[in-house]
Every structure is written in C-alpha cells, then in structure tokens.
C-alpha cells in the first residue's frame, strides 16, 4: 500500500489556526461543532492583532516553519477576509525578515462547495505554492449524503451535498494532485465504508485518511459490523490491486502492537502545541477547546490577542503524556499502537474538568480495526510472496501513517 501523504513539515511546524467563521452551508450530522452560528465572524482587525502578537513574540514560536490554518465552519465563506490576512502575513514575514519567511504554508479544510468560485480560484492562483487544501468527501453519494446535508432542511426534506462537491473534485485534483481527503465514520456510516473508500480511490483521490469519531456514539454490534466490512475492503484492495497506487489509513503496519509505558509515552494529540484564535481574539490550545466545540464543558481560553498567552495554562497540555491520562486497560492493552484520542473530546467527556482522563469510547472499534488490519497484511504479504514480489515491495514500501486529526 502506498504511503499516505504526510503533513507538510510534520512535527516541525507551528500550527496557527484562525477560526474565521462559525458558519457553514452544511449541517453535518456528525459535526462536533455544537455551537455553529452565522454571527461570529472574525474581523480583519482581530486577525491582524493575532498575526502581530505571534510575529512580535518570535522567541516564543521557535518552530522552523509555520502552518497558518483557516477553519470554520466553512472557511471559504470568508475568502475576502482570508485573502487580506494572507497578504498581511506574507508582507510582515518579509518586512520583519522573520525566520518563517519562505517556510510557511496556508492550510484549509473545506467542504468544497465554493471551491470553483472565482474568488477562491483567484486566491489559489495567487498563493498556489504555499497552499494545502483538503476537501472533505465521505465516499459514495449515499454515504456522503447520509450525513453531509445542507442546513435548514427538515428530516423529511434533507438535501445532501455530494453532487455539489464531487463536481469540484477534478479541478481540485488537477491543482493539487497529491492531496488526500479525510473521512469520518460514525455509527450509521459503517455499512458504507467499503464502497466509499473504493469510490474515493476511483475518483482519483489516492490518499484516504479515515477515522472513527472519538465521541461515545457507538452501538452494540458496531465493532463486529465494522470488522466484517473492513475484511471485505481488505479483500477488494488486495484482489483488485488498489494497494499499488492508493493508501487508506485503516490499514497500517504501525497499528495494533503493545506500547512500552516509558519508551512509547508520547502524547498523541497536538493540543497546546498549536494555537487557535477565534473571532473575539481569544486564544485556545486547539479549536476543540473553543465553546462551539464543547458539549458539556467550559471553553479553555489560554489568552487573547491583547494580553498574550498565559503560559501557565499551557503547562498541562505540554507535559501531558500517554500513560498519565490513560486508564490501566489502555496501558496494558496488547494492541495499543494506533489507538488515537482527541484531547478536546477527552476533556468534554471527562468526569471532572480535566484533560487528563482519556475517553475510551473507540476501544472496541480500534480492536476491530486491528483484527482486520492483521488480516490485510497477512493476506497482502502472502500474495506478494506467491508472486515473488515481497522483496521488492519491502524494499520500496514506506510506512503508512495513522490518521491524526
């Protein structure tokens, strides 16, 4: 299986996220953003203050590179604002001779609906060499439209967004040939995962990052169904040769192994290492800690564009490790590697106001995935051995990377 494309400057880049709007054309059923609205739009002044704060404190941001991330809601609803912010960032990096000059990227996760519009295309043309754009498409029309529906409809008149997104995929792939898409799986999506992954491959999207939602949405029997469909997916990918050109994060040789409690004690999640800014100019350790992302907890605001960052509030995030937040069953787990968590969901689901209690809602789903993953690699390697291709495969293969939000 091909390697999943890695994030630009993975691990070496500071991620700075502007929540430019909390509005979106869609009302996806699995969206964790519980507080979306059309009122909270970032002003240029707040964005400028945020950029100034970050660039004025160069020593506090020593990372060699930076990813300026624009999210929503749907970020391209604010393309005029984004264009101004991006121009300001580029100018300031140059004027200040900042160490991020020429080592920056602008990143977008979009629903793709406005991708073809003149304004967005003009923006892409202007910044193409520093852009990373991911369009979310969940798979087949049936699967996509199950969750990714336009807002404003009622349950009897839901309108899916597949047709409006898929028409922009060829343009996107022409402009960014090596991009991938992120797919999110909830309980009701399980029956469609096999067809969806193959559908995305057939659209020309060679990298499919796919993960189960971290929220506690799973029903009894979901893991068994998930496992059986992953086994079928494994058969198709191998038997039909999809593995030669495509990558799906469900299958990775890195997952499903025990983890040493000392040597493999790193935190999975990057919350605290990134910086998110909302329309009011508040700073968050990650967007997942903003009020619109939280069901039951207060937001964790670590500062604002005027007063700066309260570094004491970052200490818990930056000293957090795997074992300190994990229950004993996770520490002892024989298939722990690749089992992910989201710090924001951990916080939201915790019994107390802490980021130090790991949610284990995906436990059975991870174990199902591991069993299917084992099957996948055993089957693939046997096929390659019988074809005399194993050695060449081993020589050329690169590890695929588990999906991180």
């Amino acid at each position: 299986m091909k390697e999943l494309s890695r994030q630009w400057k993975e691990g070496a880049a500071k991620n700075i996220t502007f929540i430019v709007t909390k509005d979106c054309q869609l009302a996806c059923k699995y969206c964790y953003l519980v507080g979306k609205n059309s009122r909270e739009r970032m002003s240029y002044e707040v964005a400028k203050e945020a950029v100034d704060y970050v660039l004025n404190h160069e020593k506090d941001f020593p990372e060699k590179s930076v990813i300026w991330d624009f999210i929503g809601g749907e970020p391209f609803l604010e393309i005029d604002l984004i264009d101004r912010i991006v121009d300001y960032i580029k100018t300031e990096l140059y004027m200040r001779n900042h160490h991020w000059f020429d080592s920056y990227m602008f990143s977008f996760s979009t629903n793709g609906l406005n991708y073809h519009t003149e304004k967005v295309q003009k923006f892409i043309e202007k910044n193409k060499s520093h852009l990373s754009i991911g369009i979310t498409i969940d798979g087949t029309k049936q699967k996509h439209d199950l969750n990714r529906i336009y807002k404003g409809g009622n349950s009897s008149k839901e309108r899916g967004s597949y047709d409006d997104v898929v028409q922009n995929i060829p343009l996107w792939l022409r402009q960014f040939p090596n991009v991938g898409t992120k797919v999110t799986i909830s309980s009701s999506d399980i029956p469609y995962i096999k067809d969806s992954v193959i559908h995305l491959f057939s659209l020309g999207i060679h990298n499919v990052s796919i993960n189960c939602v971290f929220e506690d949405v799973w029903k009894e029997g979901d893991d068994k169904l998930f496992e059986s469909l992953l086994l079928e997916l494994a058969d198709i990918i191998i038997d039909d040769g999809w593995y030669e050109e495509n990558a799906c994060s469900f299958f990775s040789e890195m997952i499903g192994k025990p983890l040493d409690s000392k040597k493999n004690n790193q935190n999975w999640c990057g919350a605290g290492m990134m910086l998110a800014i909302d329309a009011a100019g508040n700073f968050y350790p990650c967007t997942r800690f903003a009020a619109y992302s939280l069901r039951s907890k207060k937001p964790i605001i670590i500062g604002n564009v005027r007063d700066g960052i309260n570094k004491n509030l970052l200490r818990p995030f930056l000293s957090l490790d795997r074992t300190t937040q994990s229950p004993q069953k996770c520490i002892d787990c024989e298939v722990a590697s690749g089992c992910a968590w989201c710090q924001g969901e951990n916080y939201d689901a915790a019994r107390t106001n802490t980021i130090y209690e790991r949610s284990t809602a995906i436990c059975l789903m991870h174990k199902a995935r591991v069993r299917a993953n084992n099957y996948y690699w055993n089957k693939l390697y046997r096929k390659l051995e019988l074809e005399g291709m194993r050695e060449e495969f081993e020589k050329n293969k690169r590890e695929s990377r588990p999906f991180i939000c």
Binding site: K263, Q266, N312, L313, R315, S319, T324, T354
Partner: protein, 321 residues
C-alpha cells in the same frame, strides 16, 4: 492513601494555608454533623485536624471534639491562649508573638510575598519563638523575576539564623528551609490524596479552599460517603512535572494548581520556581550544617541548573526513550 480529615468547625474557620477565607458570616457545624464526621474518621482510621473560628465554640462542642485524638488549628487570638497545637498568624500578629514570653510549638504564618520580602528581620526573630514555623505565602502566583531574586536573598538571611540556632543546640524548623533536609521523597499538601476536608454542610471537599470557591465542587457527603472522581490525579505518579522533581518539600498546593493551570496535578511556573529557590537554599544550608557535623537522611542535595522542572521537560521526556 487517606490519612487525615480536616474538619472546618465554622464557615469562618481560620485559613491556615494559601487560600483566603472570604466568609464573614458564622455557620457553625451542627453537633450531629460533627459527631458523624468523627465517626467517619474513626472508621477510616483518619487523624482529625479541627480548624477553629475566632470565636469560642458553644457549650458541648469541646466534649465532642475531645472524644477523639486530634490536632487543633486555631487563629492566634486571645480566645485560644495555650489551647492550640497549631496557631495561625498573619502579619498583624507578629509583634504580639514576639512580645509573648513563651515559645510556641507550631506557628503557621500567612503573609504576602511583599510583606515577607520587606520584613525579613521580623520573620528572622520569629524563628526564636516557635519550634516550627510554617510560612505560607498567600500570593505565590504573583511572583515576578525581581521577586524571585529578592526571595533568594531573603532565604539566605533566614538560613544564617537557622544555622546559628543549630550551632547553639536549637534545631528549629522552618518549612521552606529545613523540611527538605529531612525528606527522602515528595511530601506535599496531599489534598485529595492523603487528606480531605469536611465542611459544616456535611460534605467533603478536596481542601477548605475548594469549599470556599464552589460549594458544589464536593467529593461526596457523610451520608453517601467519599466519592473522589479521578482520584489518581491527586497522586504524584499522575503529576507529569512533579514526579520528575526533587523539591520534595514543595507545598504543591492542589488548589493553586487548579487556580493557575486549571489542572490539580500541574503546578504553575511561580510555584515551581519558588520551591526550587527554597530547595537550592536548603542545599546550601545542608552543606554548611554537614560541615559542622550534623547528620541528615541525605548529606547532599544535587546541583541543578533550572528553577522550573517544566523547562527541563525535554530532558526527562528523552530519558524515557
């Protein structure tokens, strides 16, 4: 493991630690609640520390209190002459304490860092007046770089005084300088782990500060028992910074942790730095006392090059690789 139960006898019970007791209105613990609290402590094998208000308790209370072995924590005031195991004083009491013709067993002195840094001579004299002096700085979170430097200098003065006391055969204790000399592992506030608090409303709290901050933030009650959610987070093994630290005497105030970092297991930079300034001053004192022939559980404290173990994070994270 739980070892102690603090019982607040009234909402106006004296603060003996970093927190401020904002209560002005009396709310005496009902006698029945007091009896139930004592019964709970007996059944759980806990040592009780009763915290007194400034007024004399009504008739009948002392008899109930004396039904169990205990420690009395009392405000330094005329009402409680010779009655306390631990007296709690503030800057307004210092002159009076110095003028009293007796030596106290234990005094907790609650002061602001400003007062401490500007009245170090008074505090030096206080060392003579008590076997043990516990200094509780009520605004640790307000220290800045200049304050850290001044604190280091102030500790040198107190350290010299302790050394001369030792020389004259008086082994006085000052929490911020001598505790580290006798410890071989972390010995901190213990709130939520070795000690919990029973408030006059019959509910348990992590410590008195949590009660005064938010009555709803309780750990159960006398009827239904203790229910400490995420109890592991109060233990040192679940404190990523503290478990790599050797400022073993650090108060590691759970309430201050929560207040400054939003997590009970994570101290602020100011807490860590203050404790390391004390640790390093203890190191110097230890070396001088050892040269004079005094013996301690450990005869040295290692040289380190940081004041905040969090800054050393990458090193202790790499040690695990």
């Amino acid at each position: 493991m739980l070892q102690y139960l603090i019982i607040l006898l009234d909402d106006t019970a004296t603060s003996f630690c970093h927190y401020l007791n904002p209560s002005k209105k009396r709310n005496l613990i009902p006698q029945e609640t007091l009896k139930q609290g004592i019964r709970f402590a007996m059944m759980e094998n806990l040592t009780i520390q009763f915290v007194y208000p400034e007024y004399k308790l009504p008739k009948g209370y002392e008899k109930i209190i004396d039904s169990i072995d205990h420690t009395k924590i009392m405000p330094f005031c005329a009402e409680y002459d010779h009655e306390a195991d631990v007296y709690v004083a503030d800057e307004n009491n210092i002159v009076e304490i110095l003028n009293v013709n007796r030596c106290f067993s234990t005094i907790v002195l609650r002061v602001s860092q400003y007062f401490l840094l500007n009245n170090i001579e008074s505090i030096r004299h206080l060392i003579h007046k008590t076997d043990r002096l516990n200094i509780s700085i009520v605004d640790i979170d307000s220290f800045n770089e200049e304050d850290f430097n001044q604190y280091s200098s102030a500790l040198q003065i107190l350290s010299q005084e302790l050394q001369s006391q030792y020389k004259s055969g008086k082994t006085r204790q000052l929490n911020i300088l001598t505790d580290r000399l006798f410890l071989t592992k972390m010995n901190n506030c213990g709130a939520g782990d070795t000690v919990v608090t029973l408030a006059p409303n019959g509910k348990f709290y992590t410590c008195p500060a949590f009660y005064y901050e938010d009555e709803a933030d309780n750990l159960g009650n006398l009827e239904q028992g203790l229910n400490i959610k995420n109890a592991q987070l109060y233990k040192i093994d679940f404190a990523p910074i503290c478990r790599h630290c050797d400022a073993w005497h650090c108060n590691r105030c759970i309430w201050l942790n929560k207040k400054t970092t939003l997590e009970v297991n994570t101290p602020s930079r100011e807490q860590c730095t203050v404790s390391h300034i004390e640790r390093n001053a203890s190191k110097d004192l230890l070396e001088r006392l050892c040269e004079q022939g005094f013996k301690f559980p450990n005869n040295s404290i290692s040289e380190i090059y940081y004041l905040d173990p969090f800054e050393n994070k990458e090193l202790w994270q790499q040690e695990n690789l």
